[in-house]
Amino acid sequence: MSDVGVTVKFFASLREVVGVPEMQISASSLCQLKTHLKTQLPAPVLSELLAPNVRVAVNQALIEDDDLVLADGDEVAFLPPVTGG
């Protein structure tokens, strides 16, 4: 197990399908975090969470690289498509 603890946030429709606004997970990379979620969440939830139009932000910056190394206390957010105005 990794010693790296990160906060994972789910917004809007993703918060509804996951059922909680955030959870604490130990993971030292984005890839590891997703693997961890796959062991915890049911398939229908995962398919929404990992859909192509869902973006991931680490410490509020959008990240495309799954290999990104996470640091203790990092905040990882799953963002469904946005719209303002």
Binding site: F11, Q60, A77, V82, T83, G84
Partner: protein
């Protein structure tokens, strides 16, 4: 919750409370004095009949959610792009979050410039990118059933058009 932008950009305010477009307009006039020749304000309001709701459906509420910090930064970036493109003297965005009902104000964009063309273009640019790039989510309840509103193809086309001008 009424907070200045965590991005440190005081021109971007996210708040649950309603706002006065006139207060922003008057503050701009006071700040700019005789340098300003044109001010455009845009206010977006909750419509009872949203185009995305089914025909005949009546909107009960619209609830906006945001990601404190990231949302303000996403709007600040849009303002910076507008300023890089047009000679803007001042610009402000107030965006509400929380639950709103039809006829309530959602968003204010205010742009001041020496000339009308820059003020109009920058205000419209900011609104177009708020639709596609600002970090908000909208949950609409119409005729008692809820759904999440997404930006439309037309919204994305309008935003893309600015890249070709």
């Amino acid at each position: 919750m009424t907070a200045q932008a965590d991005s440190g950009d005081s021109r971007v305010v996210i708040q649950t409370a309603d706002f006065s477009q006139d207060a922003v307009y008057q503050a701009m006039r006071k700040k700019l004095g005789a340098a300003v020749g044109a001010v455009v304000t845009f206010v977006g309001l909750v419509r009872e009949r949203n185009a995305q709701a089914g025909s005949g459906e009546v909107v009960d509420t619209l609830t906006l959610e945001h990601y404190p910090g990231m949302t303000e930064a996403s709007i600040a970036r849009i303002l910076e792009q507008a300023e890089a493109r047009w000679p803007v003297l001042d610009c402000h965005v107030i965006h509400r979050v929380g639950t709103m009902r039809p006829a309530e104000q959602i968003v204010l964009v205010a742009v001041a410039s020496a000339h009308r063309d820059a003020a109009f273009a920058a205000a419209e640019f900011v609104m177009d990118y708020l639709k596609t790039d600002a970090v908000f989510w909208k949950r609409e309840v119409a005729d008692g059933s809820a759904h999440w509103v997404e930006s439309t193809d037309q919204d994305r086309q309008r935003a893309d058009t600015w890249q070709q001008k």
